[in-house]
């Protein structure tokens, strides 16, 4: 994975601290062209990986990249799936069985399960998961992926419920079908990492909230730092600015120097902020490289 990964929260109208700022962003990024202009700024700043949720408009962005392959040489997209709102709305509207039938097109199978037929074999839920992955991946054809992430709400729900088998099955499937590694976004870095290791995964890619003040870092900061330092996990740091509570300099210094953090994920929507953040990450990462060279 690249050292710097560009995120997409700013395009959704998400702002963890301010509803007003969220509204301004939502208004600006209604125009997909505006999203592409910001992605171009990130590309100009030397960033080559964009991590994004699989919402419908990403299809337009993938299309733009396919049509301008030379311009975006070396550009990768890491999909994060699923786009939870889409499924949550469908479940409210159609119920769990209805939503599953709708998205998988497997009404017969879903009905068999819903009726509680004893004939259902264990593979079926895994097959439904695979069909859902395919549905989400359809818009990415012809775009380099490399890592495919499971969204935190799903990861953490499966983690809490103890349905751990899906993690391994997901990793196996995206490896075989999409030649990509699996990544897991979580708000519970220590617990998830231990669980994935216990499932027999080697050095899993885990993307989690990692920041100097411990915001949304479940467990203690020390526990999070220790699991990263163990060398058993490839960390992707997100929420590095702690929802704006940290200044960029101290925020980037902390994550860039933290052992076990392979990549730093950040989102920004102006050229100045993008360039400044990328510079800071490179600067503090070089400090670490120099130190380890000496050591």
């Amino acid at each position: 994975m690249d050292r710097i990964i560009f995120g997409d929260n700013q395009f959704f109208g998400v702002d963890h601290l301010s509803d007003d700022r969220a509204r301004q962003k939502e208004q600006r990024f209604k125009d997909t062209g505006e999203i592409i202009r910001v992605l171009d700024m990130a590309y100009d700043a030397g960033i080559r990986t964009f991590m994004c949720t699989t919402y419908a408009r990403i299809g337009e962005i993938c299309e733009h990249i396919r049509q301008n392959q030379q311009k975006y040489a070396g550009f990768k997209i890491y999909p994060c799936m699923p786009y939870a709102h889409k499924y949550a709305n469908a479940v409210t509207e159609m119920g769990i069985a209805g939503a599953l039938s709708h998205f998988t097109g497997q009404e017969g199978l879903v009905n068999t399960i819903a009726r509680g037929s004893k004939a259902v074999v264990k593979r079926d839920a895994i097959e439904l998961m695979q069909i859902l992955v395919d549905t989400e991946m359809s818009m990415f054809h012809g775009v380099e992926t490399g890592v495919i992430f499971l969204q935190n709400v799903i990861t953490d729900l499966l983690l809490g419920l103890g349905m751990h088998e899906f993690f391994g099955e997901f990793a196996k499937y995206v490896g075989e079908k999409y030649n990509s590694e699996a990544g897991f976004i979580t708000m519970n870095l220590p617990l998830l990492t231990e669980t994935l290791l216990a499932q027999g995964m080697e050095k899993p890619i885990v993307c989690a909230s990692i920041n100097k003040i411990g915001f949304r870092m479940s467990g203690t900061v020390a526990e999070n730092e220790a699991i990263l330092a163990s060398g058993n996990v490839r960390g992707v740091a997100m929420q590095v600015l702690a929802a704006g509570a940290l200044g960029p300099d101290e925020a980037m210094e902390y994550v860039s120097k933290l052992p076990g953090v392979e990549s730093v994920l950040f989102g920004a929507s102006s050229r100045g902020h993008i360039e400044h953040s990328a510079e800071l990450i490179r600067h503090y990462s070089n400090d670490v490289a120099t130190l380890s060279d000496v050591g």
């Binding site: 601290l17 399960i113 103890g162 708000m187």
Partner: protein, 358 residues
């Protein structure tokens, strides 16, 4: 909602989840096969067989009373999703029965565990806003944004409608931050897209302290990405505006203390402690952890979210229904402070929910 509670509970290191009951075969099949949970369709059989220390109830509201009653009869502590019951009478009956049996019922009003609102409560208690003269409590969100298929949420007899859902949270927040509600007036329950129930609730609330304010709740507002609850409180020393993300306080020259008069903003990052397991928000985990603590400590600890205050929310819901239909009257009121001052009340409570591990 039920599923996320289940995940949070299952992640609690001191909880052994001995079973879950659901009417959905699909859910029972999925959880039964891929997790280690024992799934059942008959909750009564499950409870009598497993004899748990406590039970979580996250069903449609109309089922709250019979299920909670059964749990109490079996000597089991209860976490009850909000609102407690479809009428005040049932809530009071549950409250009294729990008291008689020495059992805890905790309600699912999670705003009481949000860092920003907890901070507002401290501001008010410390008198920083001076004497209060007005409040406006609001919630908006995109639950029903067009005419659509009927579910239990569109049937008031099952606990559907914005009043039992969104508005109950806002009323409970007013109780938590300010005071119990004494009377209501000018209530309007408006249908926007729903046919059987209201999508918006507007009313004037008068509190026991004499403070008055307004309630504005609308779950058919798609300009909000998700439920957004906020409160504005005006005092003679300043003003506070708060939601789940931020607290904005303005202190006038009387309220400034050593600081300059003006606005001061703080954020959830300033008021939120990390939790051991995060799923949808710190407050959801915090309320579950607190419940387990309350049950396992066998009392002594003041319950932030007991049925005493949650039953009062149901009384206010009833007042709003009466007022909107022109049959307003003041319901019998309960002296909550006296109830809470009844020391030793919690001390008889024994161990928890779903048996403690180890």
């Amino acid at each position: 909602m039920g599923i996320s509670h289940l995940a949070i509970l299952n992640a609690h290191p001191g909880v052994e989840l001995v079973g879950a009951a659901d009417t959905s075969k699909l859910l029972r099949w999925g959880l039964g096969r891929y997790s280690s949970m024992a799934m059942a369709d008959d909750y009564q059989a499950l409870i009598t067989q497993e004899k748990p220390d406590c039970v979580f109830i996250a069903t449609p509201t109309k089922l709250h009373y019979p299920i909670a009653r059964f749990c109490l009869e079996q000597g089991v502590h209860v976490f009850l999703e909000k609102p407690c019951c479809l009428n005040y009478e049932d809530s009071v009956a549950l409250r009294d029965f729990a008291r008689e049996k020495g059992l805890l019922i905790q309600a699912g009003y999670h705003n009481r565990y949000l860092g920003t609102f907890k901070h507002v409560r401290q501001l008010i208690e410390s008198g920083e806003l001076g004497e209060l003269h007005y409040f406006h409590a609001e919630a908006y969100g995109p639950v029903v944004t067009r005419k659509k298929t009927e579910t239990w949420r569109s049937n008031r007899n099952e606990g559907g409608g914005c009043l039992y859902d969104y508005a109950s949270h806002v009323i409970n927040l007013v109780q938590y931050l300010l005071d119990e509600v004494d009377s209501v007036s000018g209530t309007r329950l408006e249908s926007i897209f729903s046919s059987g129930v209201e999508d918006a609730v507007y009313s004037s609330l008068q509190l026991r302290s004499g403070l008055t304010g307004h309630l504005t709740v609308d779950w058919s507002d798609e300009s909000f990405r998700k439920m957004s609850t906020s409160i504005t409180i005006l005092g003679d020393r300043g003003r506070v505006e708060a939601n789940a993300q931020e607290v904005k306080i303005y202190r006038n020259k009387d309220g400034r203390g050593d600081e300059e008069a003006g606005w001061k903003l703080s954020y959830l990052t300033d008021h939120t402690d990390a939790v051991s397991f995060y799923l949808r928000g710190e407050e959801y985990t915090a309320q579950v952890w607190d419940f387990i603590d309350n049950v396992s400590s066998g009392g002594g600890k003041h319950a932030v979210n007991s049925i005493d205050s949650a039953a009062e929310t149901d009384r206010v819901i009833e007042l709003l229904l009466q007022d909107s239909s022109g049959t307003a009257g003041r319901s019998e009121t309960i002296n909550l402070k006296k109830v809470l001052a009844d020391k030793g009340m919690w001390e008889r409570f024994k161990l928890l929910f779903l048996q403690q591990a180890g």
